[in-house]
Amino acid sequence: MREIALHLLDIAENSAAAESQNIRIEVHEDLHRDLLAARVTDDGRGLDPETAQKVQDPFYTTRTTRHVGLGIPLLKLAAEMAEGRFSLKSKPGTGTRVEAIFRHSHIDRMPLGDLSATFLTVLVSHPKMNWTFTYRVTDKAGNSHDFIFENTELKAALGDMSLTEPEVLTFVRGMIEEGIAALTLQPVN
């Protein structure tokens, strides 16, 4: 995988498969501290300590019971290659939090990639889930700007209307793309 955003999609798919109701995806580009943090938090069925350890091993997968395979070890490796770290915290019945932190300026740091495409993909794929997306950019001086998207009100406003009706899709895609683009355009140096 060539983008952090694709890894986030992969991890979020794990969360969705784990019977979660609420999933949060957070990305923080922090130029002040020279870090890029990416995190997925869910309230799904969670992993026992042994499994939580095993999923970080590339030769482990449960396939039929949980959709965890190469995805997690690859993300871990990507973070470690960029002077970062990886953590997976999980508790059975409570949920799971996967976090990867990269040195932002590291030459081997994977590009963030198309975050709006990742957000739109999970939103459309799992329309009943409660999603929270946070994208935060902190400039070198330490000033932060946020884009926060939640689909609770959106779901209420839509009722049983599908997200994939063309007009609705244009609206939601626009909302996400414009929100992220506005931050990307902030002067970051």
């Binding site: 995988m1 694709l6 999609l9 992969d10 798919e13 498969a17 396939r63 959709h67 395979g69 190469l70 995805g71 198309d114 495409a117 990742t118 739109l120 993909t121 459309v124 794929s125 799992h126 009100e153 959106l154 406003a157 839509l158 009722g159 209307m161 599908s162 994939t164 009706e165 063309p166 007009e167 609705v168 899709l169 244009t170 609206f171 895609r173 626009g174 909302m175 414009e178």
Partner: protein, 122 residues
């Protein structure tokens, strides 16, 4: 593109879309299912999804449900999508990049003719 994205606006869009949908009387349910396992994502499933959504938007097709499935054990054929038109049997497509997705949407979803070159025979 309007600058303000308010919920009021969304409600208006929803009502308009609802009216149009009722007028058209969609011929059964259309489902496009995209495989989103790690293998699918690594092979480009997100671009495939983006292409499908883009087609729905630009062609303004109503009544298509886009959803996902996990790894189905044919990783070498990824990105994989499945198309279900009403009561017809499911058609499974392999190696569906953004371009192939446009073709499948146009020929199969819009005009009911499966795209033979990409079909996975099981």
């Amino acid at each position: 593109m309007p600058a303000i994205k308010s919920l009021e606006e969304l409600k208006r869009i929803r009502d308009e879309a609802l009216q149009k949908k009722q007028m058209k009387a969609t011929p059964g349910n259309i489902q496009v299912i995209i495989a989103m396992g790690t293998c699918g994502i690594a092979a480009g499933a997100r671009d495939t999804m983006k292409s499908v959504l883009n087609f729905i938007e630009t062609e303004k097709i109503s009544g298509v449900t886009v959803t996902q499935t996990g790894c189905i054990g044919l990783c070498e054929q990824e990105p994989i999508i499945q198309v279900v038109l009403g009561d017809q049997p499911k058609v499974m497509y392999g190696k569906v990049d953004a371009q192939a997705a446009q073709q499948i949407m146009k020929q199969h979803v819009q005009n009911g003719q499966p795209v033979k070159e990409n079909i996975i025979q099981l």
